[in-house]
Symmetry: C2
Subunit: 313 residues, 2 copies
């Protein structure tokens, strides 16, 4: 396993020319509500609308440094699909994206817009993995896992490295937890580049596999998750789980009603569009003054891809 400080620095150098350096925003109104100083790292403004562009760019950078492929493959129903498609196009590679046939039209359109080739499969994890393996073998396209690959994890952490450059004195950083790629990258970045920064994960109460996995001391997969935060349905992987065990202070669970209220508050107060998965982290901070009151808290706003025809308010 490659989990060192140097790998973070290499990742940052690799992705910098291929991504946006996103802004860090503040909001007096939300600071008052949280009784804390909040720093929003706005990955909703990232290319393809989410932090996933960082991990995809780093993974392709690593692949191209040794024996450059002509194509890559992944399976994803969401933001990673679009991110890998664009990251591949920027390097002149083809991208084969295995998507469940239940994926929304908006998600497919995004992949197509960035030049990705969609392969449909049944909406089960097994079908996704089998189909992706087949496509990978047939096309000679290395498989990039959306959240468990170490270069993906390192790429996701670059958001926190940038945040700490601007705000080196953070007391805490919080990020949403789905498959764990973002929180793992965040935790390693905070560990190597922060000054005693506590890292928290925020998870929907209806998809709390990370919380339960930490309690059990082993990966407890997500079964029938039920949450509005559609980016956080997946389970931890063998690479992300031990990083979380070692470097994450706690996983904070959030009810969907609090997520919706936090999403609304950010839209109205900050005039920026964040997706429900990002609002989970904001809600966690608002819910827990015992942890965050009086602190300087970085919030990784993971993305801004919403379906305007199906808003929760």
């Amino acid at each position: 396993m490659i989990l060192g400080r140097d790998d973070r620095l290499a990742a940052r150098q690799r992705v910098a020319p291929r991504i946006h350096r996103t802004p860090v925003l503040t909001c007096d109104g939300l600071d008052r509500r949280a009784a804390a100083r909040l720093f929003f790292k706005c990955e909703n403004f990232q290319k393809t609308g989410s932090f996933k562009m960082r991990g995809a760019s780093n993974a392709l950078g690593v692949l191209c440094e040794s024996d450059p492929p002509t194509a890559v493959a992944t399976h994803s129903s969401g933001n990673f699909a679009a991110a890998l498609a664009l990251a591949a196009r920027l390097r002149g590679l083809s991208a084969f994206i295995v998507m469940p046939r239940t994926a929304t039209a908006a998600k497919r359109d995004a992949v197509r817009e960035y030049g990705g080739k969609i392969i449909e499969c049944d909406p089960t994890l097994e079908a996704r993995e089998t189909t992706a393996a087949e496509v990978s073998a047939r096309e000679g396209a290395p498989l990039v896992h959306p959240h468990n690959d170490l270069p993906v994890i390192a790429g996701q952490g670059t958001a926190t490295m940038e945040l700490l450059d601007e705000e080196p004195d953070l007391d805490a950083v919080i990020a949403p937890v789905g498959g764990g790629g973002l929180i793992s990258g965040t935790a390693l970045a905070a560990h190597y580049f922060g000054r005693d920064v506590k890292v928290y994960g925020a998870e929907p109460a209806g998809a709390d596999d990370a919380f339960r996995s930490l309690q059990a001391g082993r990966i407890v997969p997500s079964v029938d998750p039920d949450t509005i935060a559609d980016g956080l349905l997946t389970s931890l992987g063998p690479n992300t789980f031990p990083i979380i065990q070692q470097h994450v202070e706690a996983i904070l669970r959030v009810e969907d009603s609090d997520t919706i209220a936090a999403m609304r508050a950010v839209w109205m107060r900050m005039k920026i569009i964040i997706e429900p998965s990002s609002a989970v982290a904001v809600a966690a901070v608002l819910n827990r003054p015992d942890l965050f009151e009086g602190r300087r808290v970085g919030i990784i706003v993971s993305g801004g891809n919403v379906d305007l025809g199906r808003l929760p308010f």
Copy 2:
């Protein structure tokens, strides 16, 4: 009339410590659609969510330089109401805000949140003006007109001054037209501080009193305006009309369907919340490649105050 270059500079100095210097954003996707380079001056991120904070701050600054009042008054059903309330509070003044009893709960709440005192009146222009004059006399509170006062106009122009600092080589600037305070201030700022910048106004086709006024050569008031752009219902005033006549290249009319599509495009592409009145200006640029193709175009994004419960998509 005080319409000189020095008044712009004084306004800028007056408002700078009391407002946000808002960011100028760009968007490759919208640039491609417009076949132009667009620079979005984001007054949706301004205090109180709109550019109106600039004009209110400058007007109060001018008042306080001579014989400081203890209170001020205005009539407004929208963004100026909240802006004057906050600008007054920041100077320790009371603010009496005459609002039609049809004003939405969200608009009232904003005024109250900033400490403004609401006086209700019938929803006619005559009732608003009469009530405001009464309140002003009774409370010894100078009346600040939402768009016709010269210091208000100068204040609104400071957005364009900031924009030109960052992008001195703009070919054009466009702003929405309601009562004309923003477009007048924009036009004077571009005249004094731009390098041959053409200024355009964007107006809903269903509230095109500025277009018709320019054609007629006299102020043609707005009668029964019908548009989703609820910030652009008012008519030009005696101060704004001549400035527009002299300094604005053309008024571009936009159908509501194009406004809604442009609003949706900005929300989805840029992940920022803009109100319909701002989307009118974006739509005007997208509609008129004959004017804007290949140009560097500044767009004044006037505000981001929307009712999330009543979105047009």
